[in-house]
Symmetry: C2
Subunit: 724 residues, 2 copies
C-alpha cells in the first residue's frame, strides 16, 4: 500500500501535477551590480554623501529571456516582469502585454523581452511545469560571436547565459524592492540631560533609529558613536543625522538611513519633546551552520563576538565595516568568504559579492583601484570553487575573469612583473613605513596564485588553450619570484626590487602567503617560520586584516598552540577593552580613546570590521581542522588540533550537511557529511575506533575514513598543545 | 559718451558683473544613451511592446564633476543635481548636501560628485562667474591611464572629459524630465458611423490623441493609419491603442503614447460617448535655416514635403520613420545628417545621434547589428566635421571610434576583407535578389572610407601613430578594392567575390559610392557613369534610401538635369498618389493599397521615412551648389546648377550664418557668410560683377571670391539644363 502511494506520488511529480517554485531571474551579475550601487552609495560622513571613488557599472536595460518547453498538455502561465515586456511563442510575438497565457501542448520556445532603465529587467513566470529559474537562458543581445564554453550562441551570434537569481520566490517579492530584515530593539540605558538623550544599545549594532512620542517643532541632531566618546563628540562623530521635527501631536519619527552605533546622542531643540528612542536592527537573515565551543571560555567569547562581527558585516554583500565605508572591498571580502565557509556557508552571498566586485568590461582599473584587491578577487574564486564545488558559476564568470587577467597581464613591466602604475593603489596593509616602491614581491606572488586560479577555471570552462597559457605564465612567474626575491641568508623572500636590485627588506607578507600557498620547500618553510614568522625583529603586523594570514600561516605550520595564545592576546585584548565586535585595527600599546583614532581622525577607526572576525576561520579550519581536499568537499580532511585546549567541539558546514566534531585529549567524536572525509590525528598510544579501521601513517600519526552521515568515536591519547 | 558706456559695459562683463547662463551637464554620451533607450523602447506593434534587438547600454551611475576657478571676490553659487551629491572645495568635503554655498576669493577647485541609478547623474551650478557648461570636466573614475589627446588624466590616472550638455539652461529643466514640445491640432474631417469615428488630420502627423467629452464605461479601441485603408483595417493596422473608459461625467482622455498617423479609426463601446477627437502634435522645436524655391512648382512641393518628412523624423534623435521602428538606424541617420546640414543645421541633433548609436565599450556587434551601418557611423563623423568644423567633439569621441574600428579590423578575413560573420547583417539595401555572399565590394569600400575618416580624426586627436596606421590601412584596402573588383570590360567594380573569385555581377551600390568618394580616375568615372549609372540593364534602385546616393553620384557627375527629371518622376510620383510625407519605398508599378504593403504585411510600409527627404540635400548641395571645401565652411564653393530650371533661390546654413543665392539663366545673386566662398559658374558670354573680380578658369568657366556678409550680383548667360 505504502509503495503504491509512493509510486503514484512519483508519477504525479513527474507529470508536474504540482507546480514547482518559480523565482525571479535576471541577467547574471546585473542585479548584483545594481544592488551594490545602491548599497555602496549609502555611505555618509558627517552628514555628507560619500560615494566610492572607482567606476560603478550599470545593468543592461533590455533583456531577452527564453526557454524551450515540451508540454504534455496545454498549460497556463502567469507572467510578472520588472518593466514593460513582450512575449514570443515560437518566434511569433503576441499582441499586447498579457499577464496570463495558455501555452499549447507540444514543444515550444518562449521568449520574453523586458525593458527597465531604472532597475534591473527581471522576470517571474509561474505555470505548472513552466517556471523561471536558473535553467532559463538570457541575453543582452550582444551578438558576440565567441565559440567558448560557458556561453551558448545561437545562429545570430547572440550570447545566451544562464539566468541569475537569488531567493525572490514570490511574484510580489520584486528584486528592485529588496530590503534587509528588521527587528525592533530597545536601548539598555537612556540618560537624559537638558535637551539631550544619551542611549546605549548595549553592544555594537546597525539600523534605523525610531524616536517615539515626538512632538513640537525644531531641529534634532543625532550623533552616533561606536564608542561613548564618539557619540558625545559633535565634532568628532563620524556619522550624524539632522532632522527637522514638525509634529502637532505625538508621533514616531524614523531616521532616513541606517547607521552603525552602540551609543546615540540625541540633541533636540527645546521646542521638541521626545519620549523615548528605539532602533530597528537591520540584518540579512542567514543561519549559523558552523559552531565552536571549547574548554577556554575566553576563546568561546572571542568566537561569539567574531560571529556577531561577521553577521553585522554580511549584508546585501560582504562589506568591510558597518560604520564608515560600508563598501565592498575585495581584500576584505576575500576574508569574509573564508569565514563564511566555516559559519554561514551562504554561497549566494559569496557569488553576489564576487559579481558586484567585478562589475563589467571594459576593465579600466584594478578592483577598488587596488592591485592586490584584483588578485584577491581571483583567489576568492579559487576558494569558492574549493569549498562549494560550483562549476556552473565559474563557467559563466570565466569571460570576465579572462578580461580582468588580460588587464593585469597588460600592465606588467618589461620584466614581466607587476609594478604600481599611475592610478594603481599598491595596498598590502595599513602599516607605517611599508614600501610600495618598485616591484613588490607580494604582488608577484598574488598574481602567480591568480594565474593558477585562471588555469583551474580555464579547465572548468573547457578552454584548453587557456589552461596551457595560464599554467605556463604561472610557472614562469613562480620561478621568477624565487630567482629574484629569495634571499638565502635571510631565509626569506625579500619585500621588493627597486631599480632592478632586490632590497634587503624582509616583511612578513609575501612569506606568510608563501606558506599557505605551499610555494616553499620544507627547508624554506622552516627558514621562513624561524627567521620571519617567529622573528620579533621583523616588523609586527598590527591589523586584524593581515593577522588573518599571519596566523593562518602559523597554523599551517602546526603552530596552533602559539596561535591560540596570540588569539587570546589580540582578540582577547579587544574584549578586555569592552569590544562587542572586532575592530579594524588594534594596537595594545594604545590607551583609552586613543584606540578609536585612525586616518588622523579621533573616531576614524571602525570598531566593527569584517576582517576582525578571522578566529571563525582559524578555529574551523585549523583547530576543528576541517578542510576540503577536493572541490565541494567530495573529499576532505578532518585534522583536529587542540593547540593547548582541553577539549573543543563544533560543526563545519559542507554541501548538503555538516561535519560535527568533538575532540578532547582522550576522545574524538566525529560525524561526517558530503563525500569521504579522512580523520587525521596524533596519538601517543594506540587509538581505538570500533566502527572504522584506523591506519597508522607514521610515528604517532593515524588516519581513518569518515563516511557521510556516520558517527565515529575514537579513543586516543593526545598531548595538549602538541605541535603538529 | 557712447564709447564710454561701451567701455564700462565691457569692464562689467569682464568682471563678471552679469552672471553667465549655466546649463545642465553630464558625462558625455551618457544622457544620449539614456534618452535613446527611452525613445527606442517606445515602439509598439499591434499593441505589443517592440524593443530593439541589439545590446542597449546604460549610463554610469556615479559622476565626479570639477572645475578650477579663480575668483576676484567671494561668490555664492546654487547647486542643483539629479541625484544625491557631495561637494569638495580644494579636496575638502563639505558637510551635508548644501544647495547654496559661498566660495571664497582666490583660486579654488570645486568637485561635485553625483549619484543616480535611474537617470543620468547631472549637475547645474549657477553663480556669477561660476556656472556649469562644457568647460567643466567630468569623470566616471575609470582610472584609465591613457596618455592620449582628448583625455586629461590626473595623477591618480583618472580620465577627465569635457562635460556633455544640450540646452537645459534652467535649473528646473531637469534632463531626466525632457519631453518634446506639443501643439493641439484638430482633424480636417470627422465621420461618425455607428460606434466608430473616422478622423482625417489632413496629412501625416505624430503625437497623442485627445478624446474630448468622454463619458460612460467600456472599451475604446483606436486604429491608426498612415493611409485610410490602414485605419479602417483592424487586422492590418500596425499600431493601435486599447483604452478602458470609466467616466461619470464628461472628461478628456489622452492616449498613453505617441503614434504616427493621418487617419484615426476610433471604435467605441455603445456605453461610451465621445464628443470629438483632437491631437497633440509632438515635435522637436528646430528652426528651418535652409530654404529652396524654384520656377518648378512640383519641385517646390517636393522640397516642402521633404522638409516636413525630415521634421517628423527629427526628434530626440534622427529616427528612421515615425510609424514603425522609431529607432535610430545608423544608415538612415547618416542621410538625415546630410539633409540636416542643408535645412536645420542642428548640430546638437547630429551629436546626440552619433553618441547614442555608438553606445559603450566593449563593442560586441556592429551598430544596429549591420556591418554597413557601422561604416556609415564613421562616414557620418567625417561629414559632421566637414560641415561643422567641430574638433572638440571628435577629440572626445576618438577613443570610441578607435575601439569600434579595432572591432572591424579584428573581423576581417584572412585576405583582409570584410565578410559577413555569424551575427552580422550585411544589409546594403532592401532589394530582391541582392547577394550578400562572400566578400561584397560595397563593404570594403565603406571600410576604406571609414579608415580614411579614422586617419582624419587621429590627426585631430593628436594621435600621430594612428594617422600613420589608418592611412596605411586605407591605402592598402583602396588598392585591393580595385585589384580585386574592378572589371575593365564592364567598366565597373563588381558586386562581390565568392570563394576567391570576383563575380560578374554589377550593381549600382559600390559604383555610385565610388563616384562621390572620388575613388575613380576620370576614365573610370565615365565608364561607371555610362555602363552602370545610366545603364538600364543594371538592376534599378527602388528605395529612396539608395536613390539618395544614386542621385548624388549623378549630380557629382554633373547630371543635374537628369536628376531633376528623376526627382520629379520619383518624388513627384509619390505626391501624385497623395503623399503628404515621403515613403520608405516607392515602386511606380504598383497601384492603390499595394503601395502600403511591405515585409509581407498589408500596411507594413512606413509612409514617412527620413530617407525619403533626400531632395533637401540634393537641391542644397548640387543645385544651389553650396559645399564646404574645408572643415566648418572656412572655405566653401558655390556652384549653382539650374539643371533645366528657369530660376531657383534659397539659403544654405553655415556656421554663424547662411549663404543665400538666387540664380536664373541670366543672373546670380549671392550673399556669403562664414569664411571665404568661391562662386563657380558657366557662362556662354562674358559675365559681369561690379563689386568683385571674376576670373576665367577655362572655356566658359568662371569663378569669383565671395566674402562673408557681402551681397554680389553677377550678370551672366547660362544655357538652361546645361551639364556641368
Amino acid at each position: 500500500m505504502k509503495h503504491k502511494l509512493l509510486a503514484i506520488l512519483l508519477v504525479l511529480v513527474a507529470q508536474g501535477a504540482w507546480a514547482q517554485q518559480a523565482t525571479w531571474i535576471w541577467y547574471p551579475g546585473d542585479y548584483e551590480i545594481w544592488l551594490a550601487n545602491k548599497m555602496q552609495n549609502r555611505r555618509t560622513e558627517k552628514g555628507a554623501f560619500f560615494p566610492p571613488f572607482w567606476r560603478m557599472d550599470a545593468h543592461y536595460v533590455l533583456m531577452d529571456f527564453h526557454k524551450v518547453f515540451e508540454l504534455a498538455a496545454p498549460e497556463e502561465i502567469t507572467i510578472h516582469a520588472e518593466g514593460p515586456y513582450n512575449i514570443k511563442i515560437d518566434s511569433r510575438m503576441l499582441p499586447g502585454m498579457p499577464a496570463k497565457l495558455t501555452i499549447p501542448a507540444g514543444k515550444h520556445r518562449i521568449n520574453i523581452k523586458v525593458y527597465n532603465q531604472a532597475a534591473v529587467p527581471a522576470l517571474y513566470v509561474q505555470g505548472r511545469t513552466i517556471f523561471t529559474d536558473s535553467s532559463w537562458l538570457v541575453t543582452n543581445e550582444d551578438k558576440e560571436w565567441i565559440d567558448e564554453s560557458g556561453k551558448v550562441s545561437d545562429q545570430s551570434g547572440t550570447t545566451w547565459l544562464k539566468a541569475g537569481s537569488w531567493n525572490f520566490n514570490e511574484p510580489g517579492s520584486l528584486p528592485s524592492a529588496f530590503e534587509l530584515k528588521r527587528q525592533l530593539l530597545q536601548p539598555v540605558s537612556a540618560e537624559r540631560k537638558g535637551n539631550s538623550l544619551l542611549l546605549d544599545f548595549g553592544k555594537e549594532t546597525f539600523g534605523y533609529l525610531q524616536l517615539n512620542g515626538v512632538t513640537g517643532k525644531g531641529p534634532v541632531t543625532i550623533y552616533y558613536g561606536e564608542s561613548k566618546e564618539e557619540a558625545l563628540s559633535p565634532e568628532g562623530a563620524e556619522t550624524l543625522d539632522k532632522l527637522a521635527i514638525n509634529n502637532n501631536s505625538k508621533g514616531v519619527v524614523m531616521t532616513p538611513s541606517t547607521k552603525a552605533f552602540r551609543y546615540v546622542n540625541v540633541q533636540y531643540d527645546p521646542a521638541v519633546q521626545i519620549d523615548s528612542v528605539s532602533m530597528w536592527y537591520e540584518y540579512l537573515p542567514v543561519e549559523d551552520k558552523g559552531s565552536f565551543r571549547s574548554s577556554d571560555e575566553e576563546l568561546n567569547k572571542i568566537y561569539d563576538v567574531a560571529k556577531y562581527t561577521l553577521h553585522l558585516n554580511t549584508r546585501e554583500f560582504f562589506i568591510d565595516g558597518i560604520k564608515r565605508d560600508r563598501w565592498i572591498w575585495s581584500g576584505d571580502a576575500n576574508q569574509s568568504y573564508l569565514m563564511n565557509y566555516y559559519l554561514l556557508f551562504d554561497n549566494a552571498s559569496v557569488r553576489r559579492t564576487i559579481l558586484a566586485l567585478r562589475g563589467k568590461d571594459p576593465v579600466s582599473s584594478h578592483i577598488n583601484t587596488i592591485m592586490d584587491y584584483t588578485f584577491y578577487w581571483f583567489l576568492g574564486i579559487y576558494d569558492y570553487y574549493t569549498y562549494s564545488g560550483d562549476k556552473a558559476f565559474l563557467q559563466q564568470l570565466y569571460p570576465r575573469m579572462q578580461s580582468l587577467m588580460e588587464y593585469c597581464l597588460g600592465r606588467r613591466n618589461k620584466d614581466g612583473l607587476m609594478e604600481g602604475q599611475s592610478g594603481d593603489w599598491v595596498f598590502i596593509d595599513w602599516a607605517d613605513g611599508l614600501s610600495k616602491q618598485g616591484e613588490v614581491s607580494f604582488e608577484q606572488m598574488l598574481l602567480c596564485r591568480s594565474l593558477e586560479t585562471m588555469a583551474l577555471c580555464a579547465e572548468i570552462a573547457g578552454d584548453a588553450p587557456g589552461v596551457k597559457k595560464y599554467e605556463a605564465l604561472g610557472a614562469e612567474l613562480r620561478k621568477k619570484l624565487f630567482s629574484i626575491y629569495w634571499n638565502e641568508s635571510k631565509q626569506a623572500l625579500v619585500h621588493s626590487r627597486v631599480n632592478g636590485a632586490p632590497t634587503d627588506n624582509v616583511t612578513r607578507y609575501t612569506n606568510m602567503f608563501g606558506i599557505f600557498f605551499n610555494y616553499f620547500n620544507d627547508q624554506q618553510k622552516q627558514g621562513v617560520k624561524q627567521q620571519v614568522l617567529l622573528n620579533n625583529q621583523v616588523p609586527k603586523i598590527t591589523t586584524p586584516y593581515m593577522r588573518f594570514y599571519e596566523l593562518e600561516a602559523l597554523c599551517a605550520l602546526g603552530e596552533q598552540a602559539y596561535v591560540l595564545k596570540e588569539m587570546k592576546d589580540y582578540w582577547g585584548g579587544m574584549l578586555k577593552l569592552g569590544a562587542t565586535s572586532f575592530w579594524e585595527e588594534y594596537n595594545p600599546s594604545k590607551t583609552g580613546a586613543e584606540h578609536y583614532a585612525m586616518y588622523g581622525r579621533p573616531f576614524g577607526k571602525s570598531l566593527c570590521h569584517a576582517w576582525g572576525a578571522s578566529p571563525l576561520y582559524l578555529l574551523g579550519r585549523y583547530y576543528l581542522g576541517v578542510q576540503p581536499t577536493s572541490p565541494g568537499y567530495q573529499t576532505y580532511s578532518i585534522t583536529p588540533v587542540l593547540g593547548g585546549l582541553q577539549w573543543m567541539e563544533g560543526k563545519v558546514p559542507v554541501p548538503g550537511g555538516e561535519v560535527s566534531l568533538y575532540c578532547s585529549t582522550s576522545q574524538i567524536k566525529v560525524k561526517g557529511a558530503a563525500g569521504v572525509g579522512t580523520l587525521r590525528f596524533t596519538s601517543t598510544g594506540k587509538p581505538v575506533c570500533k566502527t572504522a579501521t584506523i591506519r597508522s601513517t607514521g610515528t604517532s600519526q593515524y588516519e581513518m575514513d569518515v563516511e557521510a552521515g556516520v558517527e565515529y568515536l575514537v579513543t586516543y591519547k593526545a598531548v595538549p598543545g602538541i605541535k603538529k
